[in-house]
Amino acid sequence: MASVCFYFQVHQPWRLRHYTVFDRDSNYFDEQKNAEICRKVANKCYLPSNLLMLKLIKKYGGKFKISYSITGVVLEQLERYAPEVLNTFKHLAATGCVEFLGETYYHSLSSLYSKDEFFRQVIAHKKTIERLFGQTPRVFRNTELIYNNNLPALIEEIGGFDAILAEGADHILGYRSPNFVYRPVNGSRLKLLLKNYRLSDDIAFRFSNRGWSQWPLTADKFAHWVNAVNGCGYVVNLFMDYETFGEHQWEDTGIFEFLSHLPGEILKHPDNNFKTPSEVVDSFEAVDSIDVPYTISWADIERDLSAWLGNAMQTNALAEIYKLESRVKSTDDPDIITDWRKLQTSDHFYYMCTKYFSDGDVHKYFNPYDSPYESYINFMNILDNLDYRCSAAIDAKQQRLIACPGGQRRSGRSQKTGNKNLSAVDLCFSERS
């Protein structure tokens, strides 16, 4: 018996506008570029892929199942720039064959820096998924599949989750196969689903590579590889960016053709089926525990944090943004707090990566900046302005307190009335005790 478990990551950051040391305003985001990219990816990937998934689910009468993890920041953008995509995701949710996973609302690295912030973002995301898709996430995937031994305890403390997804990196598995269900060390009751990176990357990275010995990859060839797992594993976890379909692998590579034939080819074998992550968790017991003392992720060949924390600029930028946390929160200013959170999206730090920069690889392809240095300069200029806004807001708050002694109660009231104008996103955060 081999189950195929698909999980697709859907994410777009709020890209920053060019912001110099001379700028003073608080418009940090590039409205035009974000709209442009969102619409482009919607047309090339999200919309055709969603329609294809809907077709396949219908065609196989509930036997084809998939899962998504969709960040809060991409949902905000889809709502604003491509509402038709959001609608098709809702249709997918209504089929009963699609599971939505939990993650941090802002696709942030907060699990490494601030427990409080991490909790708030996970809960905010959970509420957003409930509101939009009528599902409560049961399986958690951390930003970029970042995982270490500390994560299960955090996730258990939040509650409501049964499993975590992680990279099936060779150095944590050793001789073991990723095609089983595992558990964390330290007696956690959670389960771990590990990515089969070879088979996942055959689709996500190698599909259109003409230099690859297996090119061209057809659905029946891939199904044979999956069949080979029978007898030596329960589940093949195929985890990848959703943008694989139509954006990383363009339509003319035949990626949609491949995808539309894949369910049929997989299901030809009587022992095969498709399962959502929750179904995998319910179906299989953990066979062993996995010890991850050093943080892993799904990025680059290193499978570590070096894509976001690989040089002095990245370390500095991340340290500085989390250093602002208490100041930002003490302003009680929803605009400042939301801007601070949007700046936490991991992409901003990925753009600062100098690893492989000379070789012009994948890092460059996804980078809206000419160089990692430009992205750092831009980010830090914005952070300086945010810091300045915090000071101004905190000063103003103190002035109000001094000016009218009963101000504390008054300001509490004005905050409540202010809540009426908050968006759904703000409410997600404000309701947490």
């Binding site: 040391v21 001379f22 002095a312 600029m313 100098t354 920069f357 000379s358 240095y373 750092y376 830090m380």
Partner: protein, 427 residues
């Protein structure tokens, strides 16, 4: 393989990148075992105090730096006018004279004739060099002729005709880089004629290659790009100079001429000083825009923050790099820009204009359009204010600069020779 090389500058007599490049390239060719007869102008001592400053110790004037070379032979041509007048210095004088000329004209004075006399002198010198080069060529055996920049192109044509050997021209700079759109027609004609007559043209960047295709009507297939490199710095006596330094230093190092964009540097300095005060802007170099640049700094009220060090060489240049927190090259049009590689190889972060050849070859540098003073200032502030940025640029820039080896340039030049000779013997 034996090359008859025609040059104009060579250490210690240099005023810019041309001499540095000729030296680095020749040294590497020597190591590769390529034989070179290097023809250079030699200054007549009694004329050295003319209108152009000779850079170098007077004692070194007589001897050529042949020591340490195995396969290189130097031949010199005695010059009446100071021959260590590269095109830029020529341009400097021309500008000065034409300014005086127009001032006189606007004052209602009669044309003095200075420009014509001056112009004849420099062009006479170029043709004298060509005549003498032919005489030298008659006493030497060689396979190919290699000419560096326009002053030597007429010599290359003449030697080629006399010897029947093909020639390649090596473009380190063009009249369009030096003069913008206000080009000197005679210089342009010499450049154009040389490029078209040559069997192959070597440029120091793709930037220059496309400029030549655009302005000189040359077929792109005829042009080979050979990037410049940097000599490894064997001096480890750094950091000693940093001891008595207070505040930050931003360095400009180059001729203070229109081509190098000094006014953009000063304008950016003004903007930087609006944000941070503890910083000085040091301008090393000399040139026809020196006075105007000093005046500009004074007008902007930052005269005390912009320091002019004059022309420096050797150890003083090293010290300047050691003091600098950032090197800025705001050139309006720079065929390559070796100085930025030098800065990187000495652990100094660089901010270079996008209108430069070096910008197409390095990634661990900050880049800016020369006219975008706001962005230039933004980046200067960032380097001065953010130690992690400074450190990352230093570290990566250092290793990147060391990948530029003159041996690699020399190997490419040898390939150009081989292709040229193969083509010539086939036709």
């Amino acid at each position: 393989m034996k090359t008859f090389m025609l040059g104009w500058e060579f250490p210690p007599f240099i005023s810019g990148g041309l001499g540095t490049a000729c030296y680095g390239l020749t040294k590497a060719m020597d190591r590769l075992g390529i034989e070179v007869i290097f023809v250079l102008p030699k200054v007549h001592a009694s004329h050295s105090a003319g209108n152009v400053k000779i850079i170098g110790s007077p004692g070194a004037v007589g001897g050529m730096p042949s020591a340490g070379f195995k396969n290189i032979k130097f031949r010199t041509i005695v010059s009446q006018l100071s021959p260590y007048l590269d095109a830029e210095s020529y341009h400097y004088n021309k500008m000065r004279l034409s300014r005086e000329h127009s001032q006189k004209k606007s004052a209602g004075l009669k044309h003095s004739g200075d420009i014509d006399n001056y112009g004849r002198n420099i062009f006479d010198e170029v043709h004298n060099y060509a005549d003498k080069a032919v005489e030298i060529a008659q006493t030497e055996e060689f396979d190919i002729i290699h000419a560096h920049d326009w002053m030597t192109y007429p010599a290359a044509i003449a030697v080629s005709q006399a010897s029947g050997r093909p020639f390649v021209v090596h473009v380190h700079s063009t009249e369009f880089d030096r003069s913008g759109e206000n080009i000197n027609q005679t210089v342009y004609d010499i450049e154009r004629q040389g490029m078209h007559a040559a069997a192959k043209v070597i440029t120091v960047s793709n930037y220059t290659k496309s400029l030549i295709v655009r302005h000189y009507g040359l077929a792109p297939e005829k042009i080979e790009v050979v990037h410049n490199a940097v000599e490894p710095d064997d001096d480890n006596s750094s950091s000693a100079f940093n001891g008595n330094k207070t505040g930050k230093i931003v360095l400009f190092l180059g001729r203070i001429t229109m081509q190098k964009g000094p006014e953009y540097f000063v304008a950016a300095a003004k903007k930087v000083l609006d944000v941070i005060q503890d910083v000085k802007f040091v301008m090393v170099g000399d040139g026809d825009m020196m006075r105007r640049t000093i005046e500009l700094a004074a007008q902007l009220g930052i005269g005390h923050k912009v320091l002019f060090a004059g022309f420096l060489r050797g150890d003083d240049v090293k010290k300047a790099y050691q003091m600098a927190d950032l090197y800025v090259m705001p050139s309006v049009s720079e065929p390559f820009g070796i100085s930025s590689l030098e800065a990187m190889s000495r652990n100094v972060p660089v901010l270079i204009s996008k209108q430069s050849g070096v910008a197409e070859t390095v990634v661990h540098a900050l880049k800016v359009d020369f006219w975008d003073v706001n962005e230039m200032a933004n980046k200067i502030v960032a380097v001065l204010k953010r130690p992690p940025l400074h450190a990352t640029l230093c570290r990566n820039g250092f290793s990147e600069a060391h990948k530029f080896r003159w041996e690699d340039s020399a190997i490419k030049v040898r390939k150009v020779y081989e292709d040229t000779l193969a083509f010539c013997s086939a036709t």
